[in-house]
Protein backbone atom coordinates (compact mmCIF):
# COMPACT_ATOMS: atom_id res chain seq x y z
CA UNK A 1 0.00 0.00 0.00
CA UNK A 2 1.49 3.31 -0.97
CA UNK A 3 -0.31 5.54 1.48
CA UNK A 4 1.97 4.46 4.29
CA UNK A 5 3.90 7.50 5.48
CA UNK A 6 5.87 6.16 8.40
CA UNK A 7 6.74 2.67 9.42
CA UNK A 8 8.59 1.94 12.63
CA UNK A 9 9.95 -1.59 12.84
CA UNK A 10 11.35 -3.35 15.90
CA UNK A 11 12.68 -0.13 17.36
CA UNK A 12 14.82 -0.58 20.45
CA UNK A 13 16.26 2.40 22.32
CA UNK A 14 18.38 2.25 25.45
CA UNK A 15 19.96 4.84 27.70
CA UNK A 16 23.31 4.06 29.28
CA UNK A 17 23.23 5.42 32.82
CA UNK A 18 25.34 4.90 35.91
CA UNK A 19 22.54 2.76 37.34
CA UNK A 20 22.60 0.45 34.35
CA UNK A 21 21.02 0.26 30.94
CA UNK A 22 17.54 1.78 30.81
CA UNK A 23 15.52 -0.15 28.24
CA UNK A 24 13.38 2.76 27.16
CA UNK A 25 11.85 1.23 24.03
CA UNK A 26 11.55 -2.49 23.55
CA UNK A 27 10.69 -3.77 20.11
CA UNK A 28 8.28 -1.02 19.09
CA UNK A 29 6.61 -1.41 15.69
CA UNK A 30 3.76 0.56 14.16
CA UNK A 31 2.60 2.02 10.87
CA UNK A 32 1.14 5.44 10.20
CA UNK A 33 -0.74 6.28 7.01
CA UNK A 34 -1.01 9.63 5.29
CA UNK A 35 -3.53 12.10 6.75
CA UNK A 36 -3.96 10.07 9.89
CA UNK A 37 -3.88 11.58 13.33
CA UNK A 38 -2.38 9.10 15.70
CA UNK A 39 -2.30 9.63 19.45
CA UNK A 40 0.43 8.00 21.49
CA UNK A 41 -0.84 7.65 25.03
CA UNK A 42 0.89 6.48 28.15
CA UNK A 43 1.96 7.44 31.61
CA UNK A 44 5.29 8.79 32.82
CA UNK A 45 8.23 6.78 31.52
CA UNK A 46 6.28 4.68 29.01
CA UNK A 47 8.51 5.77 26.14
CA UNK A 48 6.11 8.01 24.24
CA UNK A 49 8.49 10.95 24.06
CA UNK A 50 11.47 8.72 23.30
CA UNK A 51 9.53 7.33 20.33
CA UNK A 52 9.03 10.81 18.94
CA UNK A 53 12.64 11.80 19.52
CA UNK A 54 13.78 8.61 17.79
CA UNK A 55 11.67 9.46 14.73
CA UNK A 56 13.36 12.87 14.60
CA UNK A 57 16.69 11.11 15.26
CA UNK A 58 17.17 13.34 18.27
CA UNK A 59 18.28 10.58 20.62
CA UNK A 60 21.67 11.66 21.88
CA UNK A 61 24.19 9.93 24.12
CA UNK A 62 23.76 8.41 26.66
CA UNK A 63 20.77 7.30 24.58
CA UNK A 64 21.19 4.99 21.64
CA UNK A 65 19.02 3.42 18.97
CA UNK A 66 20.32 -0.14 19.16
CA UNK A 67 18.01 -1.80 16.72
CA UNK A 68 15.17 -1.19 14.31
CA UNK A 69 14.15 0.79 11.29
CA UNK A 70 12.20 4.01 10.94
CA UNK A 71 11.00 4.11 7.36
CA UNK A 72 9.71 7.51 6.30
CA UNK A 73 8.56 7.64 2.68
CA UNK A 74 10.79 4.70 1.80
CA UNK A 75 13.94 6.07 3.48
CA UNK A 76 15.28 4.48 6.64
CA UNK A 77 15.90 7.44 8.96
CA UNK A 78 18.07 5.33 11.26
CA UNK A 79 20.67 4.95 8.52
CA UNK A 80 20.71 8.56 7.24
CA UNK A 81 23.60 10.89 8.02
CA UNK A 82 23.20 14.32 9.62
CA UNK A 83 23.20 16.17 6.30
CA UNK A 84 20.40 14.16 4.77
CA UNK A 85 18.50 14.29 8.06
CA UNK A 86 18.59 18.06 7.96
CA UNK A 87 16.74 18.02 4.66
CA UNK A 88 13.95 16.14 6.43
CA UNK A 89 13.85 17.71 9.88
CA UNK A 90 11.73 20.83 9.98
CA UNK A 91 10.80 20.43 6.34
CA UNK A 92 9.18 17.03 6.02
CA UNK A 93 8.82 16.26 9.72
CA UNK A 94 8.44 18.99 12.30
CA UNK A 95 7.85 18.92 15.98
CA UNK A 96 6.35 20.96 18.79
CA UNK A 97 7.17 20.43 22.41
CA UNK A 98 5.52 20.60 25.80
CA UNK A 99 7.34 23.65 27.12
CA UNK A 100 7.03 26.22 24.35
CA UNK A 101 8.98 28.84 26.26
CA UNK A 102 12.02 26.65 26.72
CA UNK A 103 11.95 25.69 23.03
CA UNK A 104 12.37 29.30 21.92
CA UNK A 105 15.62 31.22 22.06
CA UNK A 106 15.13 33.78 24.85
CA UNK A 107 17.39 36.47 23.36
CA UNK A 108 16.01 36.58 19.83
CA UNK A 109 12.83 38.21 18.64
CA UNK A 110 10.01 35.91 17.63
CA UNK A 111 9.93 37.16 14.04
CA UNK A 112 13.61 36.39 13.57
CA UNK A 113 13.28 32.88 14.99
CA UNK A 114 10.38 31.89 12.77
CA UNK A 115 12.17 33.52 9.82
CA UNK A 116 15.29 31.54 10.54
CA UNK A 117 13.53 28.21 10.22
CA UNK A 118 11.64 29.28 7.11
CA UNK A 119 14.80 30.61 5.48
CA UNK A 120 16.62 27.30 6.04
CA UNK A 121 13.84 25.29 4.47
CA UNK A 122 13.06 27.62 1.57
CA UNK A 123 16.71 28.51 1.04
CA UNK A 124 16.11 32.25 1.15
CA UNK A 125 17.49 35.04 3.33
CA UNK A 126 15.94 35.74 6.71
CA UNK A 127 14.93 39.17 5.43
CA UNK A 128 13.10 37.65 2.49
CA UNK A 129 11.39 35.20 4.80
CA UNK A 130 9.58 37.91 6.77
CA UNK A 131 6.62 37.87 4.41
CA UNK A 132 6.12 34.19 5.16
CA UNK A 133 6.58 34.85 8.88
CA UNK A 134 3.64 37.23 8.83
CA UNK A 135 1.45 34.69 7.04
CA UNK A 136 2.50 32.00 9.50
CA UNK A 137 1.59 34.18 12.48
CA UNK A 138 -1.73 35.17 10.95
CA UNK A 139 -2.55 31.50 10.47
CA UNK A 140 -2.29 30.92 14.23
CA UNK A 141 -4.44 33.98 15.06
CA UNK A 142 -1.63 36.17 16.32
CA UNK A 143 -1.18 39.79 15.33
CA UNK A 144 2.00 39.71 13.17
CA UNK A 145 2.81 43.42 13.51
CA UNK A 146 3.01 43.13 17.28
CA UNK A 147 4.34 39.62 17.77
CA UNK A 148 7.34 39.68 15.40
CA UNK A 149 9.01 42.25 17.62
CA UNK A 150 8.44 40.49 20.91
CA UNK A 151 10.92 38.39 22.84
CA UNK A 152 9.77 34.98 24.07
CA UNK A 153 9.65 36.21 27.68
CA UNK A 154 6.96 38.66 26.62
CA UNK A 155 4.69 35.86 25.41
CA UNK A 156 2.19 33.97 27.53
CA UNK A 157 2.24 30.16 27.45
CA UNK A 158 -0.62 30.01 24.99
CA UNK A 159 0.94 32.59 22.67
CA UNK A 160 4.29 30.82 22.78
CA UNK A 161 2.66 27.55 21.79
CA UNK A 162 0.96 29.36 18.90
CA UNK A 163 4.37 30.63 17.81
CA UNK A 164 5.75 27.09 17.94
CA UNK A 165 2.84 25.81 15.89
CA UNK A 166 3.30 28.56 13.33
CA UNK A 167 6.96 27.62 13.07
CA UNK A 168 6.24 23.91 12.79
CA UNK A 169 3.55 24.32 10.16
CA UNK A 170 5.15 27.16 8.17
CA UNK A 171 6.92 24.60 5.97
CA UNK A 172 3.79 22.48 5.54
CA UNK A 173 5.48 19.30 6.78
CA UNK A 174 4.19 15.88 5.81
CA UNK A 175 4.37 14.76 9.39
CA UNK A 176 3.96 16.85 12.50
CA UNK A 177 4.83 15.46 15.91
CA UNK A 178 3.21 17.28 18.82
CA UNK A 179 4.71 16.20 22.13
CA UNK A 180 2.30 17.10 24.95
CA UNK A 181 1.51 20.42 23.25
CA UNK A 182 -1.04 21.52 25.82
CA UNK A 183 0.03 19.83 29.04
CA UNK A 184 1.60 22.96 30.47
CA UNK A 185 -1.42 25.12 29.63
CA UNK A 186 -4.64 25.93 31.44
CA UNK A 187 -7.73 24.12 30.31
CA UNK A 188 -9.33 27.08 28.50
CA UNK A 189 -6.08 27.79 26.65
CA UNK A 190 -5.65 24.09 25.94
CA UNK A 191 -9.07 24.07 24.29
CA UNK A 192 -8.10 27.09 22.15
CA UNK A 193 -4.84 25.48 21.05
CA UNK A 194 -6.37 22.09 20.26
CA UNK A 195 -9.12 23.75 18.21
CA UNK A 196 -6.49 25.73 16.34
CA UNK A 197 -4.40 22.63 15.62
CA UNK A 198 -7.50 20.78 14.49
CA UNK A 199 -8.41 23.57 12.10
CA UNK A 200 -4.91 24.01 10.64
CA UNK A 201 -4.21 20.33 10.22
CA UNK A 202 -7.57 19.70 8.54
CA UNK A 203 -6.83 22.50 6.12
CA UNK A 204 -3.24 21.56 5.35
CA UNK A 205 -3.80 17.81 5.48
CA UNK A 206 -0.73 17.02 7.57
CA UNK A 207 -0.27 13.69 9.23
CA UNK A 208 0.00 14.14 12.98
CA UNK A 209 1.43 12.18 15.86
CA UNK A 210 0.02 13.58 19.08
CA UNK A 211 1.82 12.50 22.22
CA UNK A 212 -0.15 12.99 25.40
CA UNK A 213 -1.00 11.48 28.76
CA UNK A 214 -4.51 12.90 28.53
CA UNK A 215 -7.00 10.45 27.05
CA UNK A 216 -9.51 13.28 26.74
CA UNK A 217 -7.29 15.34 24.47
CA UNK A 218 -6.56 12.28 22.33
CA UNK A 219 -10.21 11.21 22.16
CA UNK A 220 -11.17 14.60 20.78
CA UNK A 221 -8.36 14.94 18.26
CA UNK A 222 -7.09 11.57 17.02
CA UNK A 223 -8.30 9.01 14.51
CA UNK A 224 -6.24 6.25 16.04
CA UNK A 225 -4.72 5.67 19.43
CA UNK A 226 -1.63 3.77 20.37
CA UNK A 227 -1.26 2.87 24.03
CA UNK A 228 2.23 2.41 25.43
CA UNK A 229 3.34 0.92 28.71
CA UNK A 230 6.90 0.67 30.04
CA UNK A 231 8.54 0.97 26.62
CA UNK A 232 6.22 -1.37 24.76
CA UNK A 233 3.11 -0.94 22.64
CA UNK A 234 0.19 -2.67 24.31
CA UNK A 235 -2.68 -1.69 22.04
CA UNK A 236 -3.31 0.16 18.77
CA UNK A 237 -6.77 0.81 17.37
CA UNK A 238 -9.13 3.39 15.95
CA UNK A 239 -10.19 5.89 18.59
CA UNK A 240 -13.84 4.90 18.66
CA UNK A 241 -13.01 1.19 18.74
CA UNK A 242 -10.46 1.67 21.52
CA UNK A 243 -12.87 3.49 23.79
CA UNK A 244 -15.79 1.16 23.07
CA UNK A 245 -13.93 -2.09 23.07
CA UNK A 246 -10.61 -1.85 24.89
CA UNK A 247 -8.82 -5.20 24.93
CA UNK A 248 -5.60 -4.89 26.89
CA UNK A 249 -5.97 -5.00 30.71
CA UNK A 250 -3.82 -1.86 30.95
CA UNK A 251 -6.07 0.08 28.57
CA UNK A 252 -9.13 -1.13 30.46
CA UNK A 253 -7.49 -0.08 33.72
CA UNK A 254 -6.66 3.38 32.39
CA UNK A 255 -10.20 3.97 31.19
CA UNK A 256 -11.58 2.98 34.60
CA UNK A 257 -9.11 5.23 36.40
CA UNK A 258 -10.04 8.56 34.77
CA UNK A 259 -12.62 10.66 36.56
CA UNK A 260 -15.08 12.13 34.08
CA UNK A 261 -17.33 15.11 34.55
CA UNK A 262 -20.92 13.96 34.95
CA UNK A 263 -20.01 10.32 35.44
CA UNK A 264 -20.90 8.98 38.86
CA UNK A 265 -19.13 5.64 38.47
CA UNK A 266 -16.47 4.84 40.99
CA UNK A 267 -12.97 5.23 39.61
CA UNK A 268 -10.54 2.40 40.18
CA UNK A 269 -6.79 2.81 40.02
CA UNK A 270 -4.30 0.26 38.83
CA UNK A 271 -2.45 -1.25 41.79
CA UNK A 272 1.32 -0.86 41.99
CA UNK A 273 3.43 1.50 39.98
CA UNK A 274 5.38 1.68 36.72
CA UNK A 275 8.40 -0.67 36.73
CA UNK A 276 12.00 0.45 36.71
CA UNK A 277 13.21 0.09 33.13
CA UNK A 278 16.75 -0.76 34.19
CA UNK A 279 15.31 -4.02 35.34
CA UNK A 280 11.94 -4.45 33.61
CA UNK A 281 9.75 -7.43 34.52
CA UNK A 282 10.35 -10.51 32.39
CA UNK A 283 7.66 -11.64 30.04
CA UNK A 284 4.89 -9.09 29.70
CA UNK A 285 6.04 -5.85 31.31
CA UNK A 286 2.56 -5.25 32.71
CA UNK A 287 2.19 -8.61 34.45
CA UNK A 288 3.06 -7.50 38.02
CA UNK A 289 0.11 -5.07 37.94
CA UNK A 290 -2.25 -7.09 35.78
CA UNK A 291 -5.38 -8.57 37.37
CA UNK A 292 -5.48 -11.32 34.73
CA UNK A 293 -1.82 -12.34 34.79
CA UNK A 294 -1.20 -16.01 34.04
CA UNK A 295 1.90 -18.16 34.33
CA UNK A 296 2.85 -17.58 30.71
CA UNK A 297 2.79 -13.78 31.21
CA UNK A 298 5.73 -14.03 33.60
CA UNK A 299 7.87 -15.94 31.15
CA UNK A 300 6.99 -15.14 27.60
CA UNK A 301 6.79 -11.70 26.05
CA UNK A 302 3.53 -11.23 24.15
CA UNK A 303 3.70 -9.92 20.59
CA UNK A 304 1.51 -7.30 18.97
CA UNK A 305 -1.15 -9.26 17.07
CA UNK A 306 -4.21 -8.34 15.05
CA UNK A 307 -7.22 -9.25 17.13
CA UNK A 308 -9.94 -7.86 14.90
CA UNK A 309 -9.71 -5.64 11.86
CA UNK A 310 -7.31 -2.77 12.57
CA UNK A 311 -7.22 -3.56 16.26
CA UNK A 312 -3.82 -4.67 17.51
CA UNK A 313 -3.15 -5.88 21.02
CA UNK A 314 -0.13 -7.32 22.76
CA UNK A 315 -1.48 -9.68 25.42
CA UNK A 316 -1.52 -13.42 26.09
CA UNK A 317 -5.26 -13.29 26.78
CA UNK A 318 -5.79 -12.97 23.04
CA UNK A 319 -4.36 -15.55 20.69
Amino acid sequence: MNDVLLEVKNLRVVFHTYRGIVQALDDVSFTIHRNERVGIIGETGCGKSVTSLAIMRLIEPPGEIVNGEIIFEGKDLVKLNENSLNTIRGKEISMIFQEPLSSLNPVMKVGFQIGESISKVKNISIKASQKFVRDALKAVDLDPERVVNLYPSELSGGMAQRVMISMALSTNPKLMIADEPTSALDVTIQAQIMNLLDELVSKMKNTVILITHDLGVAAQFCDKILIMYAGTIVEFAETKELFENPLHPYTKGLLKAIPKVGNKNKIVGIPGSVPDLVNPPRGCRFHPRCPFAMEICKIEKPTLKTESQDHLVSCHLYR
Binding site: T188, A219, Q220, L255, P259, K266, I270
Partner: protein, 323 residues
Amino acid sequence: MDNTLIEVQNLKKYFLRHGFFSKSEYVHAVDDVNLEIKKREIFSVVGESGSGKTTLGRVILRLTEPTFGRIIYDGQDITALSQKDMIKFRKKMQIVFQDPYNSLHPRKLVKDIIGEGLAIHEHLPVDEISEKVREILKKVGLNEDHMFRYPHEFSGGQRQRIAIARALIIKPEFIVLDEPTSALDVSVQANVLELLIDLKKYFDLTYLFITHNLAVVDYISDFVAVMYLGQIVEIGRKDDIFSFPAHPYTYALLSSIPAPDPQRKRSNVIPKGEIPSAINPPRGCRFHTRCLYAKEMCKFEEPQFFNVSGDHIVKCHFPLGKA
Protein backbone atom coordinates in the same frame (compact mmCIF):
# COMPACT_ATOMS: atom_id res chain seq x y z
CA MET B 1 -27.00 24.03 64.89
CA ASP B 2 -23.61 25.40 64.11
CA ASN B 3 -22.13 23.21 61.50
CA THR B 4 -19.54 25.65 60.20
CA LEU B 5 -15.88 24.79 60.68
CA ILE B 6 -14.28 27.65 58.83
CA GLU B 7 -15.57 31.02 57.88
CA VAL B 8 -13.60 33.40 55.75
CA GLN B 9 -14.68 37.03 55.58
CA ASN B 10 -13.49 39.63 53.07
CA LEU B 11 -10.14 37.92 52.84
CA LYS B 12 -7.49 39.71 50.81
CA LYS B 13 -3.89 38.92 50.12
CA TYR B 14 -1.82 41.37 48.12
CA PHE B 15 1.79 40.59 47.40
CA LEU B 16 4.12 43.53 46.95
CA ARG B 17 6.26 43.12 43.89
CA HIS B 18 9.28 45.35 44.11
CA GLY B 19 10.10 47.10 40.90
CA PHE B 20 13.73 47.35 39.91
CA PHE B 21 13.51 50.18 37.42
CA SER B 22 9.75 50.54 37.55
CA LYS B 23 7.57 51.36 40.52
CA SER B 24 6.52 48.66 42.97
CA GLU B 25 3.16 47.05 42.38
CA TYR B 26 0.71 44.85 44.20
CA VAL B 27 -0.32 41.45 42.93
CA HIS B 28 -3.97 40.96 43.89
CA ALA B 29 -3.65 37.23 44.59
CA VAL B 30 -6.77 36.92 46.71
CA ASP B 31 -9.20 39.79 46.51
CA ASP B 32 -12.18 39.87 48.83
CA VAL B 33 -13.09 36.24 49.30
CA ASN B 34 -15.94 35.09 51.52
CA LEU B 35 -16.69 31.46 52.12
CA GLU B 36 -17.92 28.99 54.67
CA ILE B 37 -16.71 25.44 55.02
CA LYS B 38 -19.03 23.06 56.83
CA LYS B 39 -17.84 20.25 59.04
CA ARG B 40 -17.19 16.91 57.36
CA GLU B 41 -17.51 18.36 53.89
CA ILE B 42 -15.16 18.33 50.96
CA PHE B 43 -15.01 21.90 49.78
CA SER B 44 -13.23 22.31 46.46
CA VAL B 45 -11.67 25.44 45.07
CA VAL B 46 -11.16 25.24 41.35
CA GLY B 47 -9.44 27.69 39.05
CA GLU B 48 -6.72 28.09 36.47
CA SER B 49 -3.15 29.09 37.20
CA GLY B 50 -2.91 32.48 38.85
CA SER B 51 -6.49 32.42 40.11
CA GLY B 52 -5.27 32.60 43.72
CA LYS B 53 -6.51 29.20 44.82
CA THR B 54 -3.23 28.10 46.40
CA THR B 55 -2.73 31.44 48.13
CA LEU B 56 -6.25 31.18 49.51
CA GLY B 57 -5.47 27.77 51.02
CA ARG B 58 -2.25 29.02 52.57
CA VAL B 59 -3.83 32.16 53.99
CA ILE B 60 -6.63 30.16 55.63
CA LEU B 61 -3.95 28.15 57.47
CA ARG B 62 -2.03 31.36 58.11
CA LEU B 63 1.02 29.94 56.41
CA THR B 64 0.82 33.23 54.54
CA GLU B 65 -0.47 36.22 56.47
CA PRO B 66 -3.61 37.88 55.09
CA THR B 67 -3.55 41.53 54.08
CA PHE B 68 -7.12 42.08 55.16
CA GLY B 69 -10.11 40.10 56.35
CA ARG B 70 -10.96 37.55 58.98
CA ILE B 71 -10.53 33.80 59.32
CA ILE B 72 -12.79 32.17 61.86
CA TYR B 73 -12.04 28.61 62.87
CA ASP B 74 -14.74 26.81 64.81
CA GLY B 75 -16.14 30.05 66.17
CA GLN B 76 -12.81 31.61 67.05
CA ASP B 77 -11.16 34.38 65.12
CA ILE B 78 -7.64 33.17 64.37
CA THR B 79 -6.62 36.05 62.10
CA ALA B 80 -4.71 37.94 64.74
CA LEU B 81 -3.48 35.13 66.96
CA SER B 82 0.22 35.13 67.79
CA GLN B 83 2.34 32.27 66.50
CA LYS B 84 2.35 30.87 70.03
CA ASP B 85 -1.43 30.89 70.28
CA MET B 86 -1.67 29.45 66.78
CA ILE B 87 0.10 26.24 67.88
CA LYS B 88 -3.14 24.94 69.38
CA PHE B 89 -4.79 25.41 65.98
CA ARG B 90 -1.86 24.12 63.96
CA LYS B 91 -2.57 20.73 65.47
CA LYS B 92 -6.09 20.85 64.07
CA MET B 93 -5.24 22.01 60.56
CA GLN B 94 -2.81 20.36 58.19
CA ILE B 95 -1.78 20.63 54.56
CA VAL B 96 -0.73 18.23 51.79
CA PHE B 97 1.19 19.80 48.93
CA GLN B 98 1.10 19.17 45.21
CA ASP B 99 4.59 17.93 44.59
CA PRO B 100 5.52 14.90 46.69
CA TYR B 101 9.07 15.12 45.35
CA ASN B 102 9.79 18.46 47.00
CA SER B 103 7.61 18.31 50.08
CA LEU B 104 9.43 15.45 51.85
CA HIS B 105 12.84 15.97 53.44
CA PRO B 106 15.23 13.87 51.34
CA ARG B 107 17.60 13.02 54.18
CA LYS B 108 15.09 12.06 56.82
CA LEU B 109 13.69 8.58 57.36
CA VAL B 110 10.01 8.13 56.68
CA LYS B 111 9.35 7.49 60.38
CA ASP B 112 10.91 10.84 61.29
CA ILE B 113 9.05 12.69 58.57
CA ILE B 114 5.74 11.29 59.70
CA GLY B 115 6.49 11.36 63.43
CA GLU B 116 7.79 14.92 63.60
CA GLY B 117 4.35 16.39 64.23
CA LEU B 118 3.80 14.08 67.17
CA ALA B 119 7.15 14.96 68.67
CA ILE B 120 6.31 18.67 68.46
CA HIS B 121 2.68 18.64 69.52
CA GLU B 122 2.41 15.69 71.87
CA HIS B 123 5.94 15.29 73.25
CA LEU B 124 5.57 11.53 73.14
CA PRO B 125 8.40 9.06 73.86
CA VAL B 126 10.12 7.58 70.84
CA ASP B 127 8.64 4.10 71.01
CA GLU B 128 5.11 5.47 71.26
CA ILE B 129 5.74 7.63 68.22
CA SER B 130 6.99 4.59 66.29
CA GLU B 131 3.86 2.68 67.25
CA LYS B 132 1.65 5.49 65.95
CA VAL B 133 3.67 5.83 62.76
CA ARG B 134 3.20 2.11 62.18
CA GLU B 135 -0.55 2.43 62.59
CA ILE B 136 -0.88 5.40 60.29
CA LEU B 137 1.27 3.81 57.60
CA LYS B 138 -1.18 0.93 57.45
CA LYS B 139 -4.08 3.36 57.25
CA VAL B 140 -2.61 5.04 54.15
CA GLY B 141 -1.87 1.75 52.43
CA LEU B 142 1.84 1.45 53.10
CA ASN B 143 3.43 -1.09 55.42
CA GLU B 144 5.61 -0.89 58.47
CA ASP B 145 8.93 -1.74 56.90
CA HIS B 146 8.57 1.45 54.92
CA MET B 147 9.39 3.32 58.15
CA PHE B 148 13.12 2.93 57.79
CA ARG B 149 13.43 4.07 54.23
CA TYR B 150 14.13 7.42 52.64
CA PRO B 151 11.69 9.31 50.38
CA HIS B 152 13.70 8.66 47.20
CA GLU B 153 12.95 4.96 47.51
CA PHE B 154 9.27 5.59 46.84
CA SER B 155 7.18 6.29 43.76
CA GLY B 156 5.14 9.48 43.42
CA GLY B 157 1.94 7.86 44.64
CA GLN B 158 3.66 6.32 47.65
CA ARG B 159 5.29 9.64 48.53
CA GLN B 160 1.94 11.33 48.44
CA ARG B 161 0.70 8.65 50.86
CA ILE B 162 3.60 9.52 53.16
CA ALA B 163 2.66 13.20 52.97
CA ILE B 164 -0.93 12.29 53.82
CA ALA B 165 0.23 10.16 56.76
CA ARG B 166 2.31 13.06 58.04
CA ALA B 167 -0.75 15.31 57.93
CA LEU B 168 -2.99 12.74 59.62
CA ILE B 169 -0.83 11.53 62.48
CA ILE B 170 -1.67 14.36 64.86
CA LYS B 171 -5.38 13.74 64.29
CA PRO B 172 -6.31 17.04 62.64
CA GLU B 173 -9.88 18.13 61.93
CA PHE B 174 -9.18 20.04 58.76
CA ILE B 175 -6.79 19.38 55.87
CA VAL B 176 -5.95 21.61 52.95
CA LEU B 177 -5.16 19.41 49.94
CA ASP B 178 -3.34 21.55 47.42
CA GLU B 179 -3.49 19.71 44.08
CA PRO B 180 -2.67 16.42 45.83
CA THR B 181 -2.96 14.31 42.69
CA SER B 182 -1.87 16.70 39.95
CA ALA B 183 1.68 15.38 39.81
CA LEU B 184 0.54 11.76 39.64
CA ASP B 185 -0.31 9.52 36.71
CA VAL B 186 -4.01 8.78 36.28
CA SER B 187 -3.76 5.13 37.30
CA VAL B 188 -2.20 6.22 40.60
CA GLN B 189 -4.36 9.32 41.01
CA ALA B 190 -7.46 7.14 41.25
CA ASN B 191 -6.00 5.19 44.17
CA VAL B 192 -4.98 8.32 46.05
CA LEU B 193 -8.42 9.93 45.57
CA GLU B 194 -10.12 6.80 46.90
CA LEU B 195 -7.75 6.78 49.86
CA LEU B 196 -8.58 10.41 50.64
CA ILE B 197 -12.30 9.66 50.56
CA ASP B 198 -11.87 6.66 52.88
CA LEU B 199 -9.68 8.57 55.33
CA LYS B 200 -12.16 11.41 55.48
CA LYS B 201 -14.87 9.03 56.60
CA TYR B 202 -12.64 7.18 59.02
CA PHE B 203 -11.16 10.21 60.75
CA ASP B 204 -14.19 12.50 60.40
CA LEU B 205 -12.23 15.10 58.44
CA THR B 206 -13.05 18.28 56.60
CA TYR B 207 -11.14 18.96 53.39
CA LEU B 208 -10.37 22.07 51.42
CA PHE B 209 -9.49 20.55 48.08
CA ILE B 210 -7.61 22.83 45.69
CA THR B 211 -7.33 21.75 42.07
CA HIS B 212 -7.55 22.80 38.45
CA ASN B 213 -9.06 19.48 37.40
CA LEU B 214 -12.85 19.72 37.13
CA ALA B 215 -13.31 16.00 36.66
CA VAL B 216 -11.61 15.41 40.01
CA VAL B 217 -13.76 18.13 41.58
CA ASP B 218 -16.89 16.45 40.25
CA TYR B 219 -15.74 13.14 41.65
CA ILE B 220 -14.79 14.19 45.14
CA SER B 221 -16.57 17.36 46.29
CA ASP B 222 -19.67 18.34 48.19
CA PHE B 223 -19.26 22.08 47.70
CA VAL B 224 -17.41 23.96 44.96
CA ALA B 225 -16.04 27.49 44.64
CA VAL B 226 -14.83 28.64 41.23
CA MET B 227 -12.07 31.25 41.34
CA TYR B 228 -10.95 33.66 38.68
CA LEU B 229 -8.24 36.30 39.16
CA GLY B 230 -8.32 36.28 42.94
CA GLN B 231 -12.07 36.28 43.32
CA ILE B 232 -14.73 33.66 43.77
CA VAL B 233 -17.11 33.96 40.83
CA GLU B 234 -19.47 31.13 41.68
CA ILE B 235 -20.07 28.98 44.69
CA GLY B 236 -22.56 26.23 45.39
CA ARG B 237 -23.27 22.56 45.86
CA LYS B 238 -21.39 20.40 43.42
CA ASP B 239 -24.46 19.15 41.59
CA ASP B 240 -25.80 22.69 41.15
CA ILE B 241 -22.49 23.94 39.79
CA PHE B 242 -22.06 21.08 37.34
CA SER B 243 -25.70 20.80 36.25
CA PHE B 244 -26.60 24.49 36.21
CA PRO B 245 -23.43 26.57 35.92
CA ALA B 246 -24.53 30.18 36.21
CA HIS B 247 -21.30 32.07 35.62
CA PRO B 248 -20.08 32.23 32.02
CA TYR B 249 -16.59 31.35 33.26
CA THR B 250 -17.76 28.18 34.99
CA TYR B 251 -19.64 27.26 31.86
CA ALA B 252 -16.57 27.94 29.74
CA LEU B 253 -14.36 25.84 32.01
CA LEU B 254 -16.78 22.96 31.80
CA SER B 255 -16.99 23.12 28.04
CA SER B 256 -13.20 23.38 27.68
CA ILE B 257 -12.57 19.95 29.19
CA PRO B 258 -11.87 17.38 26.51
CA ALA B 259 -14.14 14.42 27.29
CA PRO B 260 -12.36 11.07 27.25
CA ASP B 261 -15.06 9.83 24.91
CA PRO B 262 -14.80 10.26 21.13
CA GLN B 263 -18.59 10.32 20.81
CA ARG B 264 -18.92 13.45 22.90
CA LYS B 265 -17.46 16.35 20.97
CA ARG B 266 -16.31 19.36 22.89
CA SER B 267 -18.67 22.29 22.58
CA ASN B 268 -17.27 25.44 21.08
CA VAL B 269 -18.01 27.81 23.91
CA ILE B 270 -14.39 28.49 24.72
CA PRO B 271 -13.40 31.81 26.28
CA LYS B 272 -11.35 34.02 24.02
CA GLY B 273 -7.95 35.44 24.93
CA GLU B 274 -5.90 34.75 28.01
CA ILE B 275 -6.08 35.36 31.73
CA PRO B 276 -5.19 39.01 32.42
CA SER B 277 -2.52 39.99 34.94
CA ALA B 278 -3.42 40.05 38.63
CA ILE B 279 -1.38 43.25 39.01
CA ASN B 280 -3.88 45.31 37.11
CA PRO B 281 -7.03 43.22 37.04
CA PRO B 282 -9.69 44.49 34.61
CA ARG B 283 -12.20 46.99 35.95
CA GLY B 284 -15.80 45.99 36.38
CA CYS B 285 -16.24 42.26 36.11
CA ARG B 286 -12.79 40.69 35.96
CA PHE B 287 -13.92 38.16 33.40
CA HIS B 288 -15.39 40.70 30.96
CA THR B 289 -12.32 40.69 28.70
CA ARG B 290 -12.86 37.01 27.88
CA CYS B 291 -16.59 36.65 28.38
CA LEU B 292 -18.71 35.72 25.37
CA TYR B 293 -21.75 37.44 26.87
CA ALA B 294 -20.13 40.65 28.15
CA LYS B 295 -22.16 43.82 27.80
CA GLU B 296 -21.24 47.48 28.30
CA MET B 297 -22.01 47.54 32.02
CA CYS B 298 -19.65 44.60 32.70
CA LYS B 299 -16.72 46.83 31.83
CA PHE B 300 -17.45 49.42 34.49
CA GLU B 301 -19.48 47.99 37.26
CA GLU B 302 -18.32 45.18 39.46
CA PRO B 303 -21.09 42.61 39.79
CA GLN B 304 -22.51 41.69 43.20
CA PHE B 305 -23.31 38.16 44.26
CA PHE B 306 -26.64 36.97 43.00
CA ASN B 307 -28.51 34.14 44.64
CA VAL B 308 -29.40 31.56 42.00
CA SER B 309 -31.08 29.05 44.28
CA GLY B 310 -30.58 27.86 47.85
CA ASP B 311 -26.89 28.23 48.57
CA HIS B 312 -25.84 28.63 44.96
CA ILE B 313 -24.53 32.15 44.37
CA VAL B 314 -22.84 33.79 41.39
CA LYS B 315 -20.96 37.03 40.83
CA CYS B 316 -22.27 38.10 37.45
CA HIS B 317 -24.51 40.80 36.03
CA PHE B 318 -26.12 38.40 33.61
CA PRO B 319 -26.03 34.90 35.08
CA LEU B 320 -26.78 32.09 32.67
CA GLY B 321 -30.15 30.41 32.87
CA LYS B 322 -31.80 33.51 34.32
CA ALA B 323 -34.44 34.75 31.92
